[in-house]
Symmetry: C2
Subunit: 201 residues, 2 copies
DNA sequence: CGGCGTTTTGAGAGAGCTCAACATCGGTGG
DNA sequence: CCACCGATGTTGAGCTCTCTCAAAACGCCG
């Protein structure tokens, strides 16, 4: 959900871009929460360090994602943010965002709607991971992500990205897609997968 | 996150309890979105039916969870909700909730904060599922869920519930916990797990 | 053309799942 | 008070499936 769709222009005007080299820290646990960030390019991981000194990864955000939304409601950050690769992030000042929400309740509502949709989507992805079989997991993914025609799935990135989202190795995904195609369940085209119309089980 | 902590009393006054028998529908895709629901007891699954007639499960909500938050921002429901077991749900009228938010911006903010925290928590659980090894997954779970003392983990439900949250069979969880205890990494007590203080890797 | 990332297929091993049996605990009722 | 019952907790053994490691074809871009 692009920032543009839920954050009013007046708050987007506060945007500050920042380049991060791999390993560079964006913010630390305990720092004053000053902004939320959109990952423009690269990857940023959110983590905490346990008392034994191990880094516990809470999430790895990729391009297009937003992190530290909760910082709007907290005085300090609750984890570290470190660039996992060379990255470009765009920070939106917390005060500017909150001011925009105060001035324009519609904007606050759009923010709430974005979060609610994200909760839904994350819950679905979590449910997907409860499916152990690669074949069933992929079927679930296809069923959830069909387009308006109910038969075509057009993944955003590469199949490797899809494999990562599914929590499968890319080999397992390729193999299983090939098997599904052999079985006549799907057909594959350039950057898309078309489901065959037929019931199962 | 209990409803009480983010929904003002005036909106909670609109609550309507409803008993559902296993298999009974709470709402259907396309129905007018009239309320969001708290699961008081039992389990309710959110699902969609694909054109082949298969039920695609989007999420299974248990006691204490809230569903259909996004219905606040939508005219209709976007999936079906069916009781998976005999259940008790509490519906909060959408109009009452929205009215409360309009009257009291603090309440709207609390709602946003709750959603943002939930996104965080779901992202972490998703990240956890990227860890394939049962042992490492459990270590991650323990590290993320330590209490204030940094050493004690007190799961809410049974170990079977923990296994479900971790996406492991309960056998795998029992075995691995036993192995961790043998290895001296943890100690187990009544309803709690205590981490030994020591670095690893 | 050369290099890099994606896509694809192969073979083998290991980890967790499945099925099974049993122990334990809390509650229920005779 | 004890027997019974269901759910949780625990351990064993085998097997399947995915992961891992490897190699190669393919497509794209400089």
């Amino acid at each position: 959900m692009p920032v543009k769709e839920w954050l009013p222009a007046i708050a987007r005007a506060s945007a500050v871009d920042r380049k991060l080299e791999a390993g560079e820290m964006l913010f630390r646990l305990g720092d004053k929460a000053a902004a939320l960030y959109e990952i423009v390019a690269g990857r940023v991981r959110l983590s905490r360090v346990d008392r034994a000194g191990n880094e516990i990864i809470l999430y790895v955000a990729g391009a297009g994602e937003t992190i530290a939304e909760a910082s709007l409601f907290s005085a300090t950050y609750h984890c570290d943010a470190v660039a996992s690769s060379d990255s470009l992030v765009r920070g939106y000042s917390k005060s500017a965002v909150l001011a925009a929400f105060e001035k324009d309740p519609k904007a606050a509502q759009a923010f709430g709607a974005m979060l609610a949709r994200q909760v839904m989507s994350l819950r679905t992805r979590l449910e997907q991971r409860n499916i152990r079989s690669a074949r069933e997991r992929i079927r679930h993914y296809l069923a959830v992500n069909v387009g308006a025609d109910g038969r075509t799935v057009a993944p955003a990135g590469t199949l490797k990205d899809v494999a990562a989202e599914l929590g499968l190795t890319h080999e397992a995904l390729y193999r299983t897609l090939a098997a599904l195609e052999r079985a006549g369940e799907i057909k594959r085209g350039a950057g898309k997968i078309v489901l065959a119309r037929r019931a199962r089980i």
